[in-house]
């Protein structure tokens, strides 16, 4: 079992040595069950760190913010940022490195293995255990241990494990500077099982299903904001304003096309989500955050998972696992399938 003390030790060490600007980790949140990201620059504060089954966030997302912040500073501190990363999170870092968005020297990865466990799906937990008022969810050998006011409840993993952990392809960090925990591969028979329910529907039924889902979308863009791969300064939905500087001419601003209207209509919502899924094809590493944060519970992960399946079936490509492979959408091989072009 991964010991929290080991993580704290690594964190303290790297902060004391002054090798990094600050460390991004997980701390206990004040608003609910799940952990919250914490930014530590003082080595004495590493006691805030936790390592539990509620550490769901993908902390590599903050590397994108860090890069943007550095770009605005005149004299930036060029030391790397330390980040505590689970297997899936390191895949995200790998993709950012493959796409040359960040340099290897910009990040110090403290990889933590999930050791055949994973993180919880809060909705699954609430369905079964809400009345017990869970306060913590800890790793306990092959189970989870839910701590409540009235004692601990042992729960077999499959009951509350997140879908993306069941279908995980990186049970331990694929790239790291230090590794805490052992490299244990989790067995999985079908990496795309969650797609089966919807795939079994007829095309008409599928269309109705998705139309109903996207009718609820309020275009809060939480799914986009939480994704580490959505780092474009000028996203297709904000083509009007975001990349404007003092030197942009009036004509340039006037000619920017509004690809999607701001009006949250089903047609615009579908367009946004489908474009986003296409832009993430071969890049999404299935951290599942987009679906977790959606305030109206749209199964967004589904679309991205389908694109992941396509990338694997057609091009034999899996994002963020092999540092030597270039990114899927920026390379081609002579033997790539072409039957759909002719």
């Amino acid at each position: 079992m991964v010991k929290l003390e080991d993580i704290k030790k690594e964190a303290k060490k790297v902060l004391e040595e002054g090798k990094v600007k600050y460390l991004i980790g997980y701390k206990r949140s004040t608003n609910g069950l799940l952990a919250a990201p914490v930014f530590i620059s003082d080595p004495k504060e590493v006691d805030q760190l936790i390592w539990e089954a509620t550490c769901v966030q993908n902390l590599s997302r903050f590397l994108v913010d860090e890069k943007r912040k550095k770009a605005r500073e005149k004299d930036p501190d060029n030391r790397p940022v330390a980040v505590i990363a689970k297997g899936c999170d390191t895949r995200a870092i790998m993709v950012l490195l493959q796409e040359k968005y960040i340099e290897r020297e910009d990040v110090y990865i403290i990889g933590v293995s999930c050791e055949n466990a994973g993180v919880i799906d809060e909705r699954k937990l609430n369905r079964k255990f809400k009345e017990k008022k869970p306060e913590k969810v800890l790793f306990e050998q092959d189970n989870f241990s839910i701590a409540t006011k009235h004692g601990k409840i042992q729960v077999p993993q499959e009951e509350i494990l997140a879908e993306r952990c069941i279908e995980c392809k990186a049970n331990f960090p694929v790239i790291y500077d230090v590794l805490v925990g052992e490299k244990i591969t989790r067995k999985c028979d079908n990496y795309f099982q969650s797609l089966e329910t919807v795939e079994s529907l007829s095309p008409d039924a599928r269309w109705d299903y998705w139309k109903e889902q996207f009718d609820r979308c309020i275009r809060c863009y939480a799914c986009r904001s939480v994704c580490p791969m959505c780092y474009c300064d000028e996203c297709v939905v904000d083509s009007i304003n975001l990349a404007v500087t003092v030197d942009t001419t009036a004509e340039e601003k006037a000619q920017k096309i509004r690809w999607i209207e701001k009006y949250p209509d089903v047609s615009e919502n579908l367009f946004y989500h489908l474009i986003r899924a296409l832009h993430l094809a071969g890049r999404c590493i299935d951290c599942g955050e987009c679906e977790r944060v959606c305030p109206v519970n749209i199964p967004i992960r589904h679309l991205n998972k389908k694109m992941e399946k396509e990338a694997q079936d057609r091009f034999d490509y899996e994002a963020g696992l092999d540092a030597d492979k270039p990114s899927l959408v920026s390379s081609f091989r002579d033997d790539d399938p072409q039957d759909f072009i002719m």
Partner: protein
């Protein structure tokens, strides 16, 4: 008017309100939302709900609204067709007192000085039937800290209390409330005095059950002013993803955007639409020149909290935040307004 209705008779009551569009909490998998209920299918209503996500403000302040349609040509003349809402009578059934208080804050805001005809037409034809929170729907509820209460009556036309024993205590507060209780073959009966006492006790207990509070609210205004320029905002907003969940789920956030959307260029046809907008988005305040008064997340987080607590205090003498706790519970990175206000 104070009456009793059994839980089984509530669908019967709803069926009789044929002239109204009824919005009520309906469960979809893991959460509830306020949707239109077919008058013949009132059984889908779940009044044992906690609180909905998003809030019921969409009934009076929809996420998308057309101001007017235009056709014509700029070279010749432009025809404008105003598209005010029809003002169909509607009822929001089972709204929590915090959400109703938020709607009444919006009423004040949209009718102050220059009136907003779109919002007001919808609002005047909406009846709010509230449901008391016997226990707080969320562990992050803090309505009592911002001048509200789990049995508050602000903005409501009827207040319902769950007495247990499958009974609701129904109290009408306005003429509109009396009107919709006045249905043929009344499913209501007169309330007994012991039921009234039980209702009062539930109300008193409900206030005690609230677990979170913001301390020293009477000095919050000056304390906020003192920290306007502090580095506190930078630290608190480090995790902010500018995702917009806090503002979109908030029952009293009402900032909007106005855009022209064209469906044809010649002849020029289109409409001017209002959509929800979000002060946490980076381009919310960005000028055409590229200058942005609030370029960092710190200033935007500060703007949100000041708007909810300080500026509303200065402009309207009450708090725009009504303590529903949705922003606290749903923030993906755990930014917690209650904690921030308790720190300063």
């Amino acid at each position: 008017m104070e009456k009793i209705i059994t839980k089984q008779s509530v669908p019967e009551w709803i069926k009789k309100l044929e002239d109204y569009t009824i919005y009520a909490p309906i469960k979809n998998e893991d959460s509830w939302s306020f949707e239109v209920v077919e008058p013949r299918q009132p059984e889908v209503i779940d009044l044992n709900y906690l609180n909905s996500s998003p809030s019921p403000k969409k009934v009076v302040f929809p996420p998308k609204e057309v101001f007017f349609e235009f056709t014509g040509s700029i070279y010749d003349r432009m025809e404008l067709k105003e598209t005010l809402p029809e003002g169909r009578p509607q009822v929001i059934l089972g709204i929590r007192p915090c959400d109703a208080a938020a709607i009444s804050r919006m009423d004040e805001f949209f009718s102050e000085d220059v009136k907003d005809p779109y919002y007001l037409t919808r609002r005047e034809n909406t009846i709010l039937v509230g449901l008391v929170c016997n226990t707080p729907p969320s562990p992050n509820c803090f309505c009592t800290s911002v001048g509200g209460s789990p049995h508050g009556k602000t903005g409501l036309d009827i207040l319902m209390t769950d007495l247990g024993d499958d009974l609701y205590y129904v109290e009408s507060l306005t003429q509109k409330g009396v009107q919709i209780m006045d249905v043929p073959d009344k499913p209501f009966r007169q309330a007994k005095s012991e039921e009234r006492s039980k209702m009062r006790k539930i109300h008193t207990d409900s206030v005690k059950n609230i677990t979170r509070e913001i301390k020293d609210m009477d000095t919050i205004g000056t304390r906020l002013d003192n920290v306007f320029n502090s580095s506190l905002w930078e630290e608190e907003s480090m995790g902010c993803l500018r995702c917009g969940i806090c503002t979109y789920l908030c029952p009293s956030c009402h900032c909007f955007d106005v855009n022209d959307e064209i469906s044809s260029t010649s002849p020029l046809e289109g409409k001017r639409v209002r959509t929800w907008d979000n002060c946490q988005f980076p381009d919310f305040t960005m000028h055409s020149s590229g200058h942005n008064p609030r370029p960092e997340r710190a200033s935007r987080l500060r703007q949100r909290i000041f708007h909810k607590i300080r500026y509303s205090q200065q402009n309207f003498n009450n708090y725009l935040c009504t303590g529903c706790g949705r922003c606290v519970s749903n923030c993906p990175v755990g930014i917690n307004m209650i904690e921030i206000l308790n720190k300063i």
